[in-house]
């Protein structure tokens, strides 16, 4: 009976994911006639609970680890309370976004329990702490309401944080990423994503202030320069594209997008020429077979995992995701595809897109230019991060070493995303307050 449940878990999760995906798009694209009608959102929440229950039970049955069961009850109440707080306290917030975040966090926790149970408790503690922090952000965003001083302050904080990393961090996998702070590796660039967006939005909100736009560009160049010196090219790409799209909104010229494409092209060319780790990643992207036991090992393992899992997946504990290097962080998507199946993984891609679209739609309805810019900036950062991560894992693009939002293990990543989410909900609500 236990084995039966473990084996059929993938099917149940798959069905829940498909239903959730359809329901999420329904929520994103339909204008509510009755503001109190929350059938779709309730359905989504049920899907989250189904995935959470089945996933945790499967892992608990297989490992016979009682702690997993306790952890399950904590997760359950956490999602319940999290949902209730948004529903009651922040009435006008977007529940579909809350549900998507709950679903993504749930899948992340389940996969981490499956792959490395030792890490899952730390992961859950970080989530819990920052969820609480993110809950007090929405009312506080009014304080952030734009001023040039805050923008410049954000820029300075961001540049300082990146400089600290550049000076003090050690290289890991070819890039300087983090410094240990009290036993937790602190990846400053994850938080710089937030200050960077606030900086750009603050300086770009008035398109007639050419000086501000020039200043923003200057700050952007400094950010990217430090990141390039730290060889953190994935983050350069994320910040660069957020800048690009926000500038495109501010000055309203398509030439900006063309210039951006050219800049990315030139940047990629030089990165390929002058950074050995970029060159290897591009080379194994073009042909993973040439060094299958060396540099091509990771992407090959990832493709083996996804392919062998197929549409249906192998089921919990029937795959071997642990053969993929860094599977809990950058390559978690491959593990999900392997054991839970290609359909579930494909639903994830769609769910991420639904999140991006919803944030952008919120931006379109936002009250001020500043809020529009902030929301689009966060949306872009989120979207580019998903593209870089999943694209790298499935060999759509070369791998860049970026985490998968809300799913990957990694304290800084989850923390910054939750803060970002708090800001999104906070700014999203402001328009209605006005």
């Amino acid at each position: 009976m236990g084995q039966l449940l473990i084996d059929s878990a993938k099917y149940i999760i798959m069905i829940a994911m498909v239903v959730f995906t359809f329901s999420a798009y329904h929520s994103v694209f339909t204008k509510k006639t009755d503001p109190d009608d929350s059938t779709a959102e309730k359905l989504q929440l049920v899907c989250v609970f189904v995935v959470q229950f089945i996933g945790n039970i499967a892992v608990a049955l297989h490992t016979s680890d009682g702690r997993i069961l306790s952890l399950y009850f904590l997760q359950f109440f956490f999602v319940l309370v999290y949902n209730a707080i948004f529903l009651k306290a922040y009435k006008s917030s977007s529940m579909v976004l809350v549900n998507i975040v709950s679903m993504l966090l749930t899948i992340g926790i389940i996969m981490l329990e499956r792959i490395n149970p030792e890490l899952v408790f730390k992961h859950c503690i970080i989530i819990a702490v920052f969820v609480v922090i993110s809950l007090i952000i929405p009312p506080a965003v009014k304080l952030l309401e734009s001023s040039d001083v805050i923008a410049v302050l954000c820029a300075i904080v961001g540049i300082l944080a990146l400089t600290v990393i550049l000076v003090f961090a050690n290289y890991e996998r070819g890039a300087k990423l983090s410094i240990p702070v009290g036993g937790i590796s602190f990846q400053a660039s994850e938080f710089v994503k937030i200050t960077f967006v606030l900086m750009c939005a603050g300086l770009f909100k008035d398109k007639n202030k050419k000086g501000n736009i020039a200043l923003g560009t200057l700050f952007m160049i400094v950010h990217i320069a430090i990141l390039v010196l730290s060889r953190d090219l994935g983050m350069s790409l994320i910040l660069g594209s957020a800048y690009l799209f926000m500038l495109f909104m501010a000055v309203d010229t398509f030439a900006i997008l063309a210039l951006g494409v050219i800049a990315v092209g030139i940047g990629s060319f030089f990165a390929y020429r002058f950074f050995a780790h970029v060159k290897t990643r591009v080379d194994v992207w073009l042909n993973p077979w040439q060094d299958i036991t060396g540099d091509g090992y990771q992407i090959a393992q990832s493709l083996f995992a996804i392919g062998t899992g197929g549409w249906m997946g192998s089921g919990f504990y029937k795959g071997i995701p642990e053969t993929i290097p860094i599977v809990t962080k950058d390559f978690i998507f491959a593990a999900i595809a392997e054991e839970l199946g290609g359909i579930t993984a494909f639903c994830l891609i769609l769910i991420y897109l639904a999140f991006v679209i919803k944030v952008m739609l919120m931006a379109m309805g936002a009250a001020s230019e500043y809020i529009k810019l902030v929301l689009v900036g966060f949306g872009c950062i989120f979207a580019v991060q998903v593209i870089l991560n999943i694209g790298g894992v499935i060999k759509f693009i070369p791998s860049t070493g970026i985490t998968l939002p809300f799913i990957s293990y990694g304290g800084s990543s989850i923390a910054s995303l939750l803060i970002m989410f708090g800001l999104i909900q906070g700014f999203g609500n402001l328009k209605r307050i006005k």
Partner: protein
């Protein structure tokens, strides 16, 4: 601003869609190329859930199957014992042959999704897919018997498709008992019974290589090759202290190009060889896959051809008659014969014809694939005519038959300083005017190709044409 946001939404929708389609495309069409790799550790976990499928001959005979006894113990059975030892291979002591090539298909299962779920839930193993090969039991048996106790190899191809009809390597072993025999096999030094000489054997091509030399001469003298004449005295003094001799001390007298090939005159071909443009000759051999990976998945050893501009005439002369540093596998030589037979178009050799599920429904179908057009139809026809002459007037006389006309080229390749101790080669195809079958045979230490290898090729051809006339 909202107009711009709409543009940004569109951009991300497009990128996500492309990424999603790429993902689907991988799962639908590309994944098999990856996961069938030997580096995929996940395949072994497949076999825990799937009963390995069978390997079938082109006419539906079981060449390998897994039987499950009442205790659920699985055993791999090879009904033909030694006959397909190398071509089908074995799973014990490492996967080889088709067992390795088609491993992925046989541990995959294309049961209907409902049966899959039912099997999953009831804890029953799924039934693996079967591989239908291009191998023909009668031809395989004929080649196996014809080689007899000789050491060597034989490859039979279908020229216009590249289908491998038979592949024999001797000495052989019994895949059913390889586990028990393993120690005994490895205790004998120099025991090569596990080696598939058809694909992994490395031999000097000897006079079979004169086909390449002739082709290069044709290309360098397209208008006047017919006026080539050479007077063979049995010895061609190339350099002060180096001469080439004809096989068996023969003196051929005056020969044109086609009779040089028919008689396999070493003196004449060494004479041709030193006149050739070395760079172009190397280029031709490179086109014909020397020093390159042989296409098809059978894991052929690379053939070797080395000739550089500053090589002496002695080296060039040796190279032109298929000695020197040149090496070739029987599979590659069969491929060259098949290319000439097929009007100059080389087809990629293949042995897995299709994959069927347990109900016999085709799930993967392999189509013949053209590798490249390596010769013009005229060049192929010209070489073919000369190879007909090899049979009708030259060294391949043992291939003369009433029921078909064969074209061939013999070879007697030296492999040591002893000029009388040679490997016997033959390349043959028939019927010469519309070839259906191409063969390469090597008999180690078989002496003369015309005497030893030709009768083996003839027995295979006899069986083939007897079979098809039935």
């Amino acid at each position: 601003m909202n107009k711009n946001i709409r543009v940004i939404i569109c951009i991300f929708v497009v990128i996500f869609t492309m990424m999603g389609l790429y993902f689907c495309n991988y799962l639908l069409f590309k994944k098999d190329d990856y996961i069938s790799s030997a580096h995929n550790k996940r395949l072994s976990s497949y076999s825990e859930h799937v009963v390995r499928g069978s390997i079938l001959s082109s006419d539906g005979e079981k060449l390998a199957e897994t039987v499950v006894d009442e205790f659920g113990e699985e055993k791999r059975i090879y009904p033909y014992n030694n006959l397909f030892a190398h071509s089908v291979g074995h799973v014990e002591k490492g996967y080889t042959g088709i067992e390795a090539l088609g491993n992925f298909y046989m541990v995959s299962s294309h049961e209907s999704i409902f049966k899959k779920i039912a099997d999953d839930v009831s804890g029953k193993k799924r039934t693996g897919d079967n591989i239908v090969t291009t191998l023909n039991v009668r031809l395989q048996q004929a080649a196996y018997d014809a080689l007899g106790d000789y050491r060597g190899a034989c490859v039979v191809l279908e020229p216009d498709t590249g289908r491998i009809l038979a592949m024999v390597s001797k000495p052989d072993f019994n895949p059913n008992t390889i586990e028990q025999d393993w120690e005994a096999i490895n205790s004998i030094q120099g025991n090569d019974c596990l080696l598939n000489k058809a694909t992994r054997g490395v031999y000097a091509p000897g006079s079979t290589f004169k086909v390449m030399t002739t082709l290069e001469y044709l290309r360098e003298h397209p208008d006047n090759y017919q006026s080539y004449l050479y007077n063979c005295t049995g010895e061609n003094n190339i350099m002060q202290d180096y001469s080439v001799h004809c096989y068996g001390g023969l003196v051929h007298g005056v020969l044109d190009l086609e009779h040089s090939l028919a008689q396999s005159c070493n003196c004449s071909f060494s004479n041709i060889g030193i006149s050739l443009n070395k760079e172009r000759f190397s280029g031709l051999c490179s086109d014909f896959l020397f020093n390159k990976t042989i296409p098809g998945s059978y894991g052929c050893v690379k053939s070797q051809f080395v000739l550089s501009a500053d090589d002496s005439d002695a080296v060039t002369a040796q190279t032109a008659i298929g000695q020197g540093k040149t090496t070739i596998s029987p599979m590659h030589n069969a491929l060259i014969a098949a290319t000439i037979a097929n009007g100059g178009v080389m087809m990629t050799p293949y042995v897995i014809d299709r994959v069927e599920n347990y109900k016999g429904k085709t799930v993967v179908d392999f189509e013949p694939k053209m590798y490249d057009k390596l010769m013009s139809a005229d060049e192929a026809a010209c070489i073919k005519d000369m190879m007909k002459l090899v049979v009708s007037e030259g060294t391949g006389a043992r291939l003369i038959s009433e029921s078909y006309q064969a074209a061939a080229k013999t070879g007697s390749a030296q492999f040591s300083s002893d000029v009388d101790d040679t490997h016997a080669w033959i390349l043959a195809f028939a019927p010469a005017d519309a070839p259906k079958i191409a063969i390469s045979v090597i008999v180690e230490r078989g002496g003369s190709g015309g005497e030893t290898a030709a009768p083996i090729a003839k027995r295979i051809l006899d069986v083939y044409f007897d079979e098809t006339s039935d």
